[in-house]
């Protein structure tokens, strides 16, 4: 038999039929839904008189618009409120399981799926959200879809798709002290570019990937989309299986052993062929800081802001100039001299318990610098928040001068009240540094949780190891 990649296996297991041109009808096992990209899909169902195909496959949660401060009064912004209420209503009307805003399990959709065991190896997982790639950390074929496709999956449990190409990102060796999964994936994006993975499913492999916890693997797969790939993947190993044991949606009893046995087959076969292979040596990766308005615009913390004059490609040079202008940065400035106004620790990239532990270890017994106007921690879910409070992490953050908030997307995209003012500069553990992402005119630098914590204490970027 021809050796297969993990992606090939997942793909083939879900193809129901194939058109002559290769377009496949693909079966979807898990459909995650949030309030921003679903209202028009439910409306479409109603207009066509259709019903969801299999409601048990759907799990819904409001995360993008929810306030991260006191929720007892509901949502103040009437437009946000209507969107969240519309989700509640749609879920009630169609019989869909939803974790409502005040449910203790509520959180960012990509945090709660794995946390609940609603994301399992071998599944196809979709959500009207590009960071659905996160779930690929469990060897699930997971990818973001648009609202028309949300409607299509609701109505048919299927999607029409063409198969992507296979790419393997091979990262071997050990990460240095203070260097995390976030730095690893930013270094990958810096190398292949934000369109480097377009048209591919990326499997992350190698000893550095295997050494990561599930949280770290999720951080890496989360940002596969920032490299242009709709899906990121990591093979199943014992770390995966152990993580899933006993989760609310995980299989139990005799099903558990059967499932785990199948999951252990979910890896690329030796000799499987990839259309593209990229290799990195983990030991050479330094803590990363983005300096521009695209995640590929990234430099090591001990580096400098690059000089567009040295860029030979005219289109790239123009993008760099525009980015530096927007970011209010001069070429050749040392990254460590960049002063910050705000620090945001949160988002589906880095708001899990392990991320909070790393950040707390950095800030313990220290104070947020005077020039940092706001430093906030937004846990990824109610359960993460609870766990962190059990461990006393909230106290460590509060005593250092951080705000400790309710779970949600928050300042990752600033659809609620958490946002940057024009010109404000933020160290953020999120995934996008696009113009205006965290608020109109706001300037975002993407970093790891440890680096964000260190930046909050120093007031500017520093190597987390130097504190």
């Amino acid at each position: 038999m021809t050796p297969k990649t993990l992606y090939d296996k997942l793909w083939e297991a879900h193809v129901i039929r194939r058109e002559a041109d290769g377009t496949a009808l693909l079966y979807i096992d898990r459909h995650l839904v949030h309030e921003v990209t679903s209202p028009q899909a439910f409306e479409g169902l109603r207009l066509a008189g259709r019903k969801p195909w299999r409601t048990a496959s759907v799990l819904a949660v409001a995360d993008h618009n929810v306030p991260t401060t006191d929720r007892s009064q509901g949502i103040a912004d009437p437009v946000s409120r209507l969107q969240v209420e519309t989700l509640d209503q749609n879920c009630a009307d169609f019989g869909i399981t939803e974790f409502k805003m005040n449910d203790h399990r509520q959180g960012i959709v990509h945090v709660i799926g794995p946390e609940q065991g609603a994301t399992l190896p071998g599944m196809t997982v979709v959500c009207g959200d590009s960071h659905t790639s996160t779930h690929g950390a469990f060897a699930a074929l997971a990818f973001g879809i648009g609202t028309s496709e949300v409607e299509h999956v609701l109505a048919t449990q299927c999607l029409l798709m063409k198969k992507a190409k296979n790419m393997r990102v091979q990262v071997d060796g050990a990460l240095s002290q203070g260097v995390s999964a976030k730095d690893l994936v930013l270094a990958v994006i810096g190398q292949i570019g934000t369109a480097g993975g377009t048209g591919y499913a990326i499997e992350f492999a190698g000893s550095a990937i295997q050494a990561l916890s599930m949280e770290g693997r999720m951080t890496v797969c989360n940002m596969a989309i920032e490299a242009g790939a709709r899906s990121g993947l990591v093979a199943v190993d014992e770390v995966t299986v152990a993580y899933l044991k006993g989760r609310p949606f995980s299989p139990r009893g005799p099903d558990w052993e059967r499932a785990a046995a199948y999951w252990r087959t979910l890896h690329s076969d030796p000799g499987a062929s990839f259309d593209r292979v990229v290799a990195l040596d983990a030991s050479t990766i330094r803590p990363q800081v983005t300096w521009g308005t695209s995640p590929e615009m990234v430099a090591p913390v001990d580096g400098r802001v690059p000089d567009p004059d040295r860029e030979p490609d005219a289109v790239k040079q123009e993008s760099m100039r525009r980015a530096l202008d927007y970011m209010g940065l001069e070429p050749n400035v040392p990254i460590q001299e960049i002063q910050l106004d705000k620090v945001f620790i949160g988002s589906c990239t880095n708001s899990r318990i392990e991320d909070l532990r790393v950040a707390a270890a950095v800030v313990r017994g220290r104070r947020v610098a005077a020039n940092v106007r706001l430093a906030m921690v937004v846990p990824g879910s109610g359960l993460v928040k609870h766990q962190a409070e059990q461990e006393g992490l909230d106290r460590i953050f509060r005593e250092a001068g951080f705000e400790w908030r309710e779970p949600g997307c928050s300042m990752c995209l600033a659809m609620n009240d958490d946002r940057l003012q024009p010109g404000e500069r933020c160290a953020a553990t999120s995934n996008r540094n696009f113009e205006g992402r965290q608020g109109t005119g706001g300037r975002t630098h993407l970093v790891s949780p440890g680096m964000a914590a260190a930046a909050a204490i120093a007031g500017h970027f520093v190597d987390v190891n130097s504190l």
Binding site: I16, R17, E19, D21, T23, L25, Y27, V36, T37, Q40, E43, R50, R54, A56, D77, V79, T86, T97, Q116, A118, L120, G122, G128, S130, T132, F143, G144, G146, T147, S148, E149, E151, A155, T156, Q157, C158, L160, T194, A195, G199, G228, F249, S250, P251, D255, R258, A259, S294, V315, E318, L383, L413, A414, M415, R432, F434, E435, G436, R437, T440
Partner: protein, 218 residues
């Protein structure tokens, strides 16, 4: 979905690479629960000098005179000429909704982000891929020639310049078929209801845990 067959339209050149969906339609407009009305906020942060909100009266907002779509010569443009990796970032279908609502019917670029590319087809918006060197020459011609119009013929898979140069483009046959006929692909998929059910029945035996009911409580 509206059919797409053949059209001739004014071309607006947007000379930036990696235009992301946050730029195409900023997040504050994603709070809408409707599919229409996004056109006035297309490229909002570039198009206006102030910060727009969902309840802003766009007709009273100060326009950025430097932004290409605000220049008189590009009013009524139906074809957007763009650079590589257009539509990167989020999955928001509000991006093609805003482009269509503004009046665009076709896009021409060297490459697009995958999700955006997909979403465009679902909304009768044709994202044409042409070689970067060709796109570059179209940029030069569009900027040099006021009233520069291109003809897009989906059936023939061609873009024709005013000088009569015919540029061929590739497209998936299935996508072409759906677009030419304005087909709703949910209806098409439901024609395979029996196959979907048969697949489901088989998987229910092989991997019953995938079909468990959600467990309430924790």
């Amino acid at each position: 979905m509206e059919k797409f067959t053949r059209m001739t339209g004014l071309v607006a050149p947007l000379d930036r690479a990696n235009v992301d969906t946050d730029a195409i339609i900023p997040k504050q407009f994603l709070k809408s629960i409707r599919r229409s009305g996004f056109g006035p906020n297309l490229f909002d942060a570039w198009r206006y000098l102030d910060e727009g909100q969902p309840d802003s009266d766009n007709s009273r907002r100060p326009l950025n005179p430097d932004f290409v779509l605000n220049q008189p010569r590009y009013q009524g443009a139906q074809i957007l000429l763009a650079r590589e990796n257009f539509g990167c970032g989020s999955s928001r279908e509000h991006a093609p909704w805003a482009l269509v609502d503004y009046g665009f019917r076709a896009l021409i670029a060297p490459s697009y982000a995958d999700i955006f590319f997909n979403n465009s087809f679902k909304n009768g918006l044709l994202p044409i891929v042409l070689d970067a060197a060709l796109v570059d020459s179209l940029f030069r011609e569009a900027v040099a020639t006021p009233g520069y119009r291109l003809t897009v013929d989906l059936e023939a898979q061609t873009v024709t310049t005013p000088a009569g140069q015919v540029l061929a483009f590739a497209i998936d046959p299935f996508r072409k078929y759906c677009l030419l006929n304005g087909l709703d692909d949910i209806g098409l998929t439901l024609q395979h209801r029996d196959e979907i059910q048969a697949y489901e029945a088989r998987r229910r035996l092989e991997q019953p845990w995938l079909f468990a009911d959600p467990v309430p409580g924790n």
